[in-house]
């Protein structure tokens, strides 16, 4: 009997896992030699759809298994053989993809891509809810907090505040009525760790949060998850129902007098709700506007009651810490940043996906060893960490060991874990403009410096990328950055200038090229580039002329074509359409 385990997170489904699964059912339903199971994403999103073949306790992982390959795949398995070329991870020997896994240490994500997230029995069989049982039966509330403090776990949402201390504050806060929040409003563009965790192992997060509730003395918990993550919401709701049915959640958990009720709230889409006071306002049904702190939520949170708020990954680490002890967790990582961190790799990298690595790993190791380098054998120019609150770290700093302090020293932040890689074709001024357009859109408008200041910065950056920048623009940008940092109430405003500050610090020459030479070195900014046909390569296939929406690309069949620079809108459609690489950007 062979078990076929298919990666069925939304990334896998987007890559075609649904069609693959349908085909498997079509071929195998009623066949007792095979059992089909669903699981989350094992992190190798770049090779999905992925299927594990489990036979005699050995796991063979197949990648790129689109529906059209399923027949051949099943034929081979039915004969008792394998298609070696399609195997991406082999139980007996290393493969070309092994290096993606070698440096990873999976504590928070160990179940993702292994268990069926929609089946509580699978979670329990993998050791699930044993930490909760240990806590309720053998530990008092302070013991739990002491273990979490000993682990050195810092908040994985971005700020990196000690999780144990946060719990202590909430526990010590006077009052009987207390709340827990799990922040799954993953708003950073370029990050998908929370989505993958909630889709792949919702019970792990529920267990961690419930342990926290016991420690701080909370009775009610809220999951705040982006409405853009429908599958995560669905699986989370299902998991809560299953946990309640089994006595792991709800009234009198595991027969004790500890009760904890969970609710799921779908975030209606506001980046600022990642900030905890804004998040609380949103849970209360209001506009998500931040307020001044103190009082901190630990003393005055939801409805004015003590509230503890952590993000998805933070809670996902808790079951391991309780099961194995704080010391087991703190043996990984650096002096100040213990344990592991989950990162989402995306952008111009060969292997995009989700990884969990010990703190202290260098960016180079992530790019080259795990990520398999930059696409098209390109050179890594920078990595963007921390989303709109973070910054771009240039390649000469990629030997930096990742921890909260080191990354902050570069001007970026570890953030929630999104890493977007950039190559020579990425314009850093355009990246700064991109992030500012995001913050302008997402600023809640409460603080003048954030509301108006970011808008002015965006206008300047738009001017520069349009080739209309002046020498005064750079000092003015710096002045505005300084003012916005000082004049904003919450993290959104205080960090909004980071993408500009880091690109100015490391890629000032690109700003200057735009301003002084009216050139975009990355050949990205439309106002500063032209499209041209390379005569030697053009076959006169007429595809560019057919594709051009404004009639700028013209020519006779089998004759070299040309592009009229006056008419050209630099949409780049012709370049994408050309099969002979005959169109270049200058």
């Amino acid at each position: 009997m062979k078990i076929l385990r298919i990666g069925y997170n939304s990334c896998g489904i987007a890559a075609g896992a649904e069609e693959t699964l349908n085909k498997l059912h079509e071929l195998l339903d009623g066949n007792s030699d095979f059992e089909i199971r669903k699981t989350g994403c094992n992190g190798m999103c770049y090779l999905e759809p992925i299927i594990d073949v489990i036979e005699e306790e050995k796991v063979y992982t197949y990648g790129n298994l689109t529906a059209d390959k399923v027949q051949k795949f099943i034929d081979a398995l039915a004969k008792g053989t394998h298609i070696e070329d399609w195997i991406i991870l082999h139980p007996d020997h290393p493969t070309t993809q092994s290096s993606y896994q070698d440096k990873q240490v999976k504590l928070a994500t160990k179940n993702i891509g292994v268990i069926d997230p929609e089946n509580v029995d699978d979670y329990v069989a993998a050791g699930g809810y044993r930490a909760l049982e240990k806590v309720l039966k053998t530990m008092d509330r302070q013991d739990v907090i002491d273990q979490v403090r000993a682990s050195g776990l810092r908040g994985r949402g971005g700020a990196g505040f000690s999780c144990g201390m946060k719990w202590q504050f909430a526990k010590d806060a006077p009052g009987e009525e207390k709340y827990m929040i799990c922040n799954g409003d993953e708003g950073d563009p370029g990050a998908f760790m929370d989505r993958s965790t909630l889709e792949g192992d919702p019970h792990g997060v529920i267990e961690g949060m419930t342990i926290g509730a016991y420690a701080v003395g909370a009775q009610v918990g809220f999951f705040y998850v982006r409405a853009e993550y429908p599958l995560a919401v669905k699986r989370l709701r299902l998991a809560i129902n299953q946990a309640e049915a089994r006595g792991y959640s709800g009234k009198n958990i595991l027969g004790t007098d500890f009760s904890f009720t969970l609710h799921v709230i779908e975030g209606a889409g506001a980046f600022v709700c990642g900030e905890e006071t804004a998040l609380i306002a949103s849970i209360e049904g209001k506009r998500g506007m931040p307020r001044t702190r103190p009082p901190f939520p630990a003393t005055q949170g939801i409805w004015g009651k003590p509230t503890n708020n952590n993000n998805v990954e933070t809670y996902a680490n808790i079951p391991y810490i309780i099961r194995e002890g704080g010391a087991a967790f703190s043996k990984y990582g650096t002096d100040m940043s213990k344990g592991t961190k989950v990162f989402a790799l995306a952008g111009k990298i060969n292997r995009g996906g989700m990884i969990e690595v010990p703190m202290g790993i260098t960016i180079n190791e992530i790019v080259n060893d795990i990520g398999g380098g930059i696409i098209n054998n390109g050179k890594c120019k920078a990595v963007q960490m921390g989303g709109p609150s973070g910054g771009c770290i240039p390649s000469h700093l990629h030997d930096t060991p990742i921890d909260y302090e080191n990354i902050t020293a570069t001007g970026a932040i570890v953030g929630s874990g999104g890493m977007v890689f950039m190559d020579q074709g990425t314009c850093m001024v355009d990246i700064a403009r991109y992030f500012l357009s995001f913050t302008v859109e997402e600023s809640c408008g409460k603080c003048t410096f954030c509301r108006v200041g970011t808008k002015r910065m965006l206008e300047i950056l738009e001017r520069i990328t349009a080739g209309e920048g002046t020498e005064e623009d750079i000092p003015l940008l710096q002045k505005l950055c300084d003012a916005i940092i000082k004049g904003s109430l919450c993290g959104l405003g205080q960090t909004a200038p980071n993408p500009v500050l880091t690109t100015l610090r490391y890629f000032r020459d690109e700003y200057e090229a735009h301003i002084r030479e009216k050139k975009c070195p990355a050949k990205k900014c439309k106002a500063l580039i032209t499209y041209r046909v390379v005569a030697d390569k053009c076959t006169g296939c007429t595809l560019c002329a057919k594709t051009c929406p404004v009639g700028a690309a013209t020519g006779e069949r089998k004759q070299v074509h040309q592009i009229d620079d006056e008419l050209c809108t630099r949409c780049g459609f012709c370049k994408d359409a050309c099969k002979f690489d005959a169109i270049i950007v200058e």
Partner: protein, 158 residues
């Protein structure tokens, strides 16, 4: 005058009556019925929950999820997350606008397509991506996305 049926709003209101802090959830569920929030529906929610229509309007315009205008049959969401941005999401928007003859943020006059830009769909490893309804299309180029749009247009014409 045409009699409009707002019983769907009342059903949602009934479900959450007496629960505090549920205004956003109520609005989400009301919107789920028609894909947008009608003015009369907002007024009904306001009356029932004891808040002003103005403050509901404040909430609705604060969060990206809420709409005040009808949405087309096919909602085309173009991801403009960081990973998609560095892989030419702007180009995709332009190509889609051209293929459907509509601007981003707008709906075609035949109410078949609404195109919008969204912050991040969380499928970064497949960038650049778009979503049509619930279906995600990844690893796109301007060329490929135009073909996807052509297929949808063909399907709608049938």
């Amino acid at each position: 005058m045409e009699q409009l049926d707002f019983s769907y709003v009342d059903e949602v209101l009934e479900r959450y009556r007496g629960h505090k802090g549920t205004l956003i959830t109520v609005l989400q569920q009301v919107q789920a019925h028609k894909g947008y929030l009608e003015k009369e529906a907002l007024e009904r929610v306001a009356r029932s929950m004891g808040v002003s229509t103005a403050s509901i309007y404040g909430i609705v315009t604060f969060y990206a999820q809420f709409r005040l205008t009808p949405v087309g049959k096919n909602l085309v969401r173009v991801c403009h997350g960081t990973a998609c941005h560095v892989q030419n999401a702007d180009g995709l928007t332009e190509a889609i606008e051209g293929a459907l003859n509509v601007k981003s943020g707008e709906t075609t006059p035949d109410m078949l397509f609404t195109v919008e830009s969204v912050a991040c769909l969380g499928c970064c490893s497949l960038a650049p991506v778009i979503m049509v309804g619930e279906k995600v299309y990844g690893k796109l180029s301007t060329d490929k996305v135009r073909k996807v749009m052509k297929e949808y247009k063909k399907k709608e014409a049938e």
